[in-house]
């Protein structure tokens, strides 16, 4: 340490830059509207919200403007809802027993969330490096968690409305079935959690060995578990509007919607994941697996929650055949736990 002289005290000192280059640089957002004082009525807060939402909707291609973590209330030691991330953090070495550890998974602004949602729905919109440099640097758990929760409730509510519409003509006393929420929750959470784990393992353990012919910098890149979960969570968003559209009780229309939703989500996911599958030995199989899991999800949603049996005979054979296909495919792609969960649920129908 230098001796303290007046020259020393007057000099500016250089602070070491943080060693972690992966965390986004700290920014002060000068565009945010200033808060009014405590006397502010609800109108001011409402105007701020409207301003904020229109602002973020206008900046859809906004940069990764992550504000700082905000006021941290360290008295709360409960684990946040982002706890199922587990694996790779964003570079800050904070203990997973503190609240700040889970705050790093929620480090997104409104514009970032909207941008990710649109990238998941519109197929070729994302850039080539989206997975590695956008989601990979700042994977968030806000989007996946709330999109899955919204999807669970919209599927359950839609399923109830669908069964009400199906029995509208009879004099059947319509029974509200609250158990659809439980079934929807189980299947969607399993899909959103186990399928990314499966693909993460497949990516990781089928990595092509690096040859010396073309040393590409990204040859050893496999997506992290958190990035995959983030990606899968956002890709589920496309089913939310379709859960409303599937209420139309015309069979052809429902199948058309299945195909449209599968195309949208499958294509966008394939576009984002293809750069990563190139590093793998079984790249073709991976792409096929991705598309297959998306299509199975769409078909299962439509069939279990929304489909109207046209006539007993035709649908019995049709649905039995589909069940067989689904069962065998599920045993290949997903853990047998899923088949065990779906099968008894179908039996109570």
């Amino acid at each position: 340490m230098q001796s303290a002289g007046t020259d020393d005290l007057l000099q500016f000192r250089d602070y070491n830059s943080t060693p972690s280059t992966s965390s986004p640089p700290a920014q002060i957002n000068v565009n945010s509207p200033t808060h009014s004082g405590g006397s502010g009525s609800g109108n001011n807060a409402l105007n701020e919200l409207i301003y904020d939402m229109s602002n973020s909707a206008g900046i859809l291609s906004g940069s990764n403007a992550a504000g700082d973590g905000g006021n941290i209330n360290t008295s709360a030691t409960t684990a946040g809802s982002g706890a199922d991330g587990g694996g790779a953090g964003a570079g800050n070495k904070v203990s997973f027993l503190t609240f700040e550890y889970y705050q790093q998974f929620f480090n997104v602004d409104t514009s970032v969330v909207l941008e990710r949602i649109v990238n998941a729905v519109v197929p070729m919109r994302a850039s080539k490096n989206y997975l590695r440099f956008d989601i990979g640097e700042n994977p968030d758990l806000y989007g996946p968690f709330w999109i899955t929760v919204t999807l669970i409730f919209s599927i359950a509510i839609g399923g109830n409305i669908a069964s009400y519409l199906q029995h509208a003509d009879d004099n059947y006393q319509w029974r509200y079935n609250f158990h659809l929420v439980s079934y929807a929750a189980t299947s969607i959470f399993i899909y959103a959690n186990f399928v990314p784990i499966l693909f993460w393992a497949l990516f990781k353990y089928t990595l092509k060995p690096v040859t010396d012919e073309e040393p590409v910098e990204s040859a050893n890149y496999t997506p992290s578990l958190l990035s995959l979960m983030c990606l899968y969570g956002y890709s589920l968003f496309v089913y939310i509007p379709f859960s409303v559209l599937w209420l139309i009780q015309i069979s052809i229309v429902q199948w058309v919607f299945v195909i449209i939703s599968f195309c949208l989500s499958g294509l966008s996911m394939m576009h984002v994941l293809t750069p990563a599958t190139r590093n793998s030995k079984i790249s073709q199989l991976l792409i096929f697996g991705i598309l297959l899991s998306q299509s199975l999800l769409a078909v299962c949603f439509m069939f279990y929650f929304f489909h109207m049996p046209n006539s007993p005979v035709s649908t019995a054979t049709e649905s039995a055949a589909i069940e067989e296909v689904i069962k065998t495919a599920k045993l290949v792609v997903t853990p047998p736990v899923v088949a065990g969960n779906i099968a008894p649920a179908n039996g109570t129908r």
Binding site: L49, D52, M53, G80, F106
Partner: protein, 221 residues
Amino acid sequence: MDTKLDMFDDNISASSQLEGDMSIPGARKNTTQIGAPDFNTLDEPIKETFLRDVRAVGVKFYHVLYPKEKSSLLRDWDLWGPLVLCTFLATVLQGSSGEVNDGGPEFAQVFVIVWIGAAIVTLNSKLLGGNISFFQSVCVLGYCLTPVAIALIVCRVILLSTQTKLTFFLRLLTTMLGFIWATYASFIFLGESQPPNRKPLAVYPIFLFFFVISWLVISHN
């Protein structure tokens, strides 16, 4: 005045009793701490103690229904109101297990949805960087269930008559009104504590929470 040691003297009669005042000097200030009563609560009748808390809860209900002043809910939070409302909702909404015609939620399911839902919404706003304590937020969310509970009462009354499309439409209207009122009230209370760039991210779960509970209300028959 000469001092004498007069300890345990048998001459001391019962008339010279020891008395004093156990008050801390300066305790009777005009500005007291929040929540600490500035009078001795040990001596008052129990009815007084009880009514004080009831009055505090009642004031909060009033402020939820007419959200003008927000400091009472935030500063002096309590969880009595949410508990009463949640129990009431769960009791009315539960489907009876005996009947064939009712697949409604169980009592425990409604309870879980309300409390765990409020906790998750609060955690979400804290994880996003919000500036509010855990119990204040749970308190606000619980008290804002008041319009939903009122809507449930009105729906129940409507259900007493024969069911037509018009009555269904009336129930739908009442429930929607309760839902919008609840969301607006909670936004007034919680709006300023959210970080500026993330307000919609924090408000959406509140919207979803009240939407689910309103859905439970409207589908109850």
